[in-house]
Amino acid sequence: MLRNILNKLKPSFEKGARFGFLHSTFEAFESFAFVPNTTTRSGAHVRDCNDLKRVMTVVIIALMPALFFGCWNIGYQHAHTFGVEMTFWGMWIYGFLRVLPIIIVSYVVGLGIEFTAAQLRGHEVNEGFLVTGMLIPLIMPVDVPLWMVGLATAFAVIIGKEIFGGTGMNIFNPALLARAFIFFSYPSHISGDRVWVAGLQSPSAVEVTTGATPLAEAAAGHIDRLPSTADLFFGLIPGSIGETSTLAALIGAVILLYTGVASWKIMCACVAGLLTTGFLMNWLAVNPYMSLPPYYHLLMGGFAFGAVFMATDPVTAAQTETGKWLYGFLIGTLTIFIRLFNEGYPEGMMLAILLMNAFAPLIDHYVVAAHIRRRLKRIPVNV
């Protein structure tokens, strides 16, 4: 049925035909609805049925626990802060209605640019943004203005990805770039104590005092005001939409690791780096924050979310298997350093990952160089 319609439309979207300029767009929708009938022409005659569309789908499914919990937590934080009575589903719907516009803006802007870029180049539309478009809302504060989301998304996709040649060629994780863009351009909208709980920025909320994230509390030296580890683990804390719950990130991690989409080496290395540096800081501690047990750092802020979904982005991470260990470990280490010693911004994960994105090619370069050296050593000397 749908196939017949598409078959009828197809000729007018061929290159050179009437709507030829929309070829990429048509192809994207067609291959979204139907796996193409392309058969193998060279090489292996049969192929694994895994493709990038499926890979991206798996990542989106893995993001769902974080999204669902995030929606609920927005309602919960709002009710908790303002002392409003709300039912479980009431909280969820309250949060969902706040998140939905951000998701829509992110996808509309991002996909719009992706389609245009593909069209201009005459390429097929890549699936990469399906994931980026979901990641961006999840790392935004709930009260972020929508125009800002749109602008940041446009920046991330154009400057972060398309000028490098599109999905697979970019250096920095586009979603984190969107967040960094807002952080550096409009810092008051993504830091401080009043952006993390829905409604706190309205003038009527001046009398409410708490709304700070645990990281901000810790950075301010209020170790005694930190939530319980259980609250931190389940995510009943203020923070970006999808990043508060360590549990939700762990469920996502299980999905990503079981399906083999994300690298377990990077995730493990991130945790190892964080804990090692954390213990080292405990030992060197000169203030209460430095002596905070390292497992708090696993639970606070966006670490778990970042380690599972951001650091493992295969395009921007180290690509050699050995390199992945080093890359992940340094992310964990840098996260602690930034959290403990950077007074401007309490969350270190974003900057740690972006910094390591920049260094990943260098790490790979040395891993490959070492591989080549080992190959050369194999040659008998007397030749």
Binding site: V35, T38, T39, T167
Partner: protein, 449 residues
Amino acid sequence: MSNVIRIRKGLTLSLKGKAEKVLSKLPTATAYALKPGDFPHLTPRLLVGEGDAVLAGTPLFNDKRLPEVRYVSPVSGIVSAIVRGEKRRLLAVVVKPAVEQEYLTHDVADVAALSREQVVSLLLAGGAWPFIRQRPYGTVADPSDTPKAIFISGFDSAPLAPDTDFTLIGEAETFQKGIEVLQKLAGKLYLGLNDEMAATSIFHKIKGVEKVVFHGPHPAGNVGVQMHHISPINKGEKAWTIDPHHVIAIGRLASRGVYDVSKVIALAGSEVKRPRYFRIIAGAAVSTVSGYVNTSGHCRYISGNVLTGVNVGADGYLGFYDNAITVIPEGDKYEFLGWANPLRLHRYSASRSYLSWIFPDRDYALDTNINGSERAFVLTGIYEKVLPMNILPVYLLKAIMAGNIDRMEQLGIYEVVEEDLALCEFVCPSKIPVQDLLRKGMDLMMNNE
């Protein structure tokens, strides 16, 4: 069986249509062909014309680069067609077989008494030289080289591949004779065996080779993988490889003085009605087996296996080095929301992105759909899981894409041929044409030597 090399990385695909161990009779093929395309980097010079009468063993063409290497007719009969393609490139020389097979005969001598030069000229004159391929690059060996060793893989681990326990039955003596000939060419001979090989396998009695036992999934049977684990070749070194069926053909040449390339091959695949084994002469028309194939659907006839074989079509010919004909359905159909289907039970994925891993141990009837569209490299660490060699496949492929010869060499392009990276291509979610790329890289290397 003390020294077993365990291969951990790889993937054994279980497909529908495994050949049953029954040897059936085939009608005589209507035509045989010798195709220059089966020999990488060959520039053929035709030695016969249409209508010429030939014997089994009469040279049909030779190689302009190595003129002494002659490629000979597998049967006696009349040259019925010279098939040319674009720019008059020679695609095939077709021979219509005579009713009674006659052979070009060569003098037979005691192998032990022959010098290396005499053995080389016997193989060259007898048309057996193209059996021997070299690493790097998988081309026919250069007779003036001395290899560091000759490697023979005694088993084929590819999907639906023929079982050498069965195809080589009764050939122990000729195989041993072939080994004696090869011993004259190289100081060292290695024979790769599988730890699951039957006790009846002819290889157990063979002398004059060092046997190395492998355990693990495909590509453990690839001679390149075995070589990598036994004694990897380095820059500047050369090693030779030969298929066990061709060792037997060399044995026949040495004992009877004739070029006889008949062998037992498997007819397999989900579109074959009764998959089984047949005795056939290399180069035979594939139409010979059409009686055993389902004629209802749109099928692909592959000379070789589904990972590395050649799509020869129903009117094509069995390739020079191939020991199987595989017939699978074409996948030129659309699949509604296929990528979103949670199960997709009729398809196979080595990843667990689909829930089909809930139902393991099934035989799959895979078609030729590419299951997606070509993209840039995105996921990492996927190729490494199916390549049991110390090679960085993605970096090697990127060096090839960039045409960077030094880099290709540094990353070890001389150790692999297409079949070694075939599984990478199979699992690739970005649908990168890995084998094609690798061949391009090897051509580039050879053109720059």
